[in-house]
């Protein structure tokens, strides 16, 4: 037994060592490219924001990336072309090019005659869009197959992958939906909660795998989290009952002077309707982006040290790989926690929206 542990520990050390040696290559690359100093901030932001192509690796000035389709609608005309036409932002194609600076840096713009830039309606299949498509396809294939397994193995014990999914489904049902919404109504919201949870969880996990076609920072993109939060908001508002609105405009259990003549409570409650999903959006975005930034930051350390001294870079790479491994484990945990928190809060908001009057009457 002891021998087994020892050999396992040895194996792990060996793998870490090999990985560290592999990163030595980065150090050399960065040491060679002395003309262009390494900008860690730029590198990190480039990795976590959306892009028109899917960058895989760069060797010197050779960039390996998968070009993605650009779809634009400008002045009554549709444009479809490959993002490779921009030649990584160096070229102009059909009057469009990638903005070099400003708030819209890196986005497709059209230069007007007077030199000002116009942003066309941009429906391009960007890196994150493709990542969303990939994870959506994965989800559909996965869950439909699992549903088939349930049909085939009716009433029998779960097996293999089905057991993992079952764990999550039961977790959402018994720990999230039923306590937050209640035994009577939770089934109406199970499809939404399960979809949201698995979408976030899957994308969080895929975002941690740094190999194409995964590794896009999907759940760390504010547009994605915004859409998810919007769905929760939409569902809350659409499904809400009379009691919910009464709670907003005539909050029970609050002194009358908070509602009249100045409707303080209604204003706060109405604001709350919007701040709740807003917070959902920001929390998920910030957590996932922060995790990616930290991991990329540790990787950047190798280059930063390597630029000043090659041997410092070597030393740092060992430490960095260790830290990155640690961060990745932490991110695995965060991936689950954030998916759980988003789902739980959605469930609580939905639960508040459909709460029965009888249930509330008991509290007052």
């Amino acid at each position: 037994m002891i021998q087994f542990i020892r050999s396992k520990a040895l194996k792990t050390t060996f793998i870490a060592f090999i990985l560290s040696i592999w990163t030595f290559g980065f150090v050399h690359a960065s040491a060679d490219a002395e003309k262009e100093p390494f900008d860690a901030g730029r590198m990190i932001v480039d990795h976590i924001i959306d892009a028109y192509d899917w960058h895989i690796a760069s060797f010197g000035n050779t960039h390996i990336s998968i070009p993605l389709p650009v779809i634009l609608y400008d002045e009554g005309k549709w444009y479809f072309f490959s993002s490779s036409k921009f030649n990584h932002g160096h070229d102009t194609y059909q009057g469009f090019h990638l903005a070099k600076e400003g708030a819209i840096k890196g986005k497709v713009v059209r230069e007007n005659a007077d030199g000002s830039l116009t942003r066309p309606l941009d429906l391009s299949i960007t890196k994150n869009v493709l990542a969303v498509f990939i994870s959506s396809a994965l989800m559909i294939i996965l869950f439909i197959n699992i549903a088939k397994v349930y049909d085939r193995r009716r009433g029998r014990a779960p097996k293999g992958f089905q057991a993992i999914i079952e764990l999550l489904v039961l977790f959402i049902r018994d720990e999230v939906a039923i306590p937050s919404i209640g035994q009577r109504q939770y089934m109406r919201f199970m499809p939404y909660l399960l979809t949201v949870f698995s979408f976030i969880f899957l994308n969080n996990i895929l975002g941690l795998i740094p190999i194409f076609p995964f590794g896009a920072n999907v759940t760390g993109n504010i547009a994605v989290t915004g859409v998810l939060a919007f769905f929760t908001f939409l569902l809350t508002t659409v499904m809400s009952n009379k009691n919910y609105w009464k709670h907003i405009f005539n909050t029970p259990g609050v002194p009358w002077w908070l509602k009249f003549p100045l409707p303080l409570m209604p204003i706060i409650e109405v604001l709350g309707m919007f701040t709740k999903p807003f917070v959902l959006m920001v929390r998920l975005f910030a957590n996932m982006t922060a995790g990616h930034i930290i991991i990329l930051g540790f990787i950047s350390l190798i280059f930063v040290f390597g630029q000043s001294n090659v041997y410092a870079g070597y030393g740092m790479s060992v430490l960095s790989v260790g830290l990155v491994i640690f961060m990745n484990f932490l991110e695995l945990l965060v991936a689950f926690i954030q998916a759980y928190v988003f789902t739980l809060l959605s469930a609580i908001f939905l639960g508040a929206a459909v709460e029965e009057h009888i249930a509330e009457g008991g509290q007052h």
Binding site: A103, D122, F143, I146, R154, I165, V227, T289
Partner: protein
């Protein structure tokens, strides 16, 4: 700034993709999974309940069996007691009968012995009488050899027997 400015294209595609995923899964995946889970839970619940019921039934059966056994034992005891009574009665009857029979035999034996005895006595009496008469005859013959004695004797008889 790039980080917190959502891209319109991404919002559009995300809305589309998520809506599609949601409705597809809602139609084809979740009902199957949730239904399967519910059915299995129901099944397990039913199975547990059935096991509990079977257990209870077995308990009842055991109690029933014990009761039956007890009843059977009681019945056996009753039957045994009755059999004993009957045996005793039969024995008693037999004894009484035997006694009666013995008595009867003894009685008849006694009667016969009595009658035999009587017959013997009678015989003896008769024989004594005959012998007596013969003796008397002989004596008389001897005594009446002389004429006076003969006369005397007639005289005496005449005296004793008034005519």
């Amino acid at each position: 700034m790039e980080l917190v400015s959502p891209g319109f294209g991404l919002i559009f595609w995300m809305l589309l993709a998520f809506t599609a995923v949601f409705f597809i899964l809602k139609k084809f995946a979740w009902p199957g999974i949730l239904q399967g889970l519910k059915e299995r839970e129901q099944q397990i619940d039913d199975a547990l309940k059935a096991a509990e019921a079977a257990h209870q039934e077995m308990k009842n059966l055991k109690i029933d069996n014990e009761q039956l056994l007890k009843q059977a034992k009681e019945e056996r005891d009753v039957i045994l007691a009755e059999a004993k009574k009957i045996r005793d009665k039969l024995l008693d009857e037999a004894r009484i009968k035997a006694n009666e029979e013995a008595e009867r035999i003894v009685q008849s034996a006694k009667t016969r012995i009595e009658s035999e005895r009587m017959a013997a006595i009678t015989e003896i009496k008769n024989q004594i009488a005959t012998i007596s008469i013969e003796v008397a005859e002989l004596i008389l013959k001897e005594k009446l050899q002389e004429p006076e004695a003969h006369d005397q004797y007639i005289q005496r008889i005449l005296e004793h027997k008034p005519l």
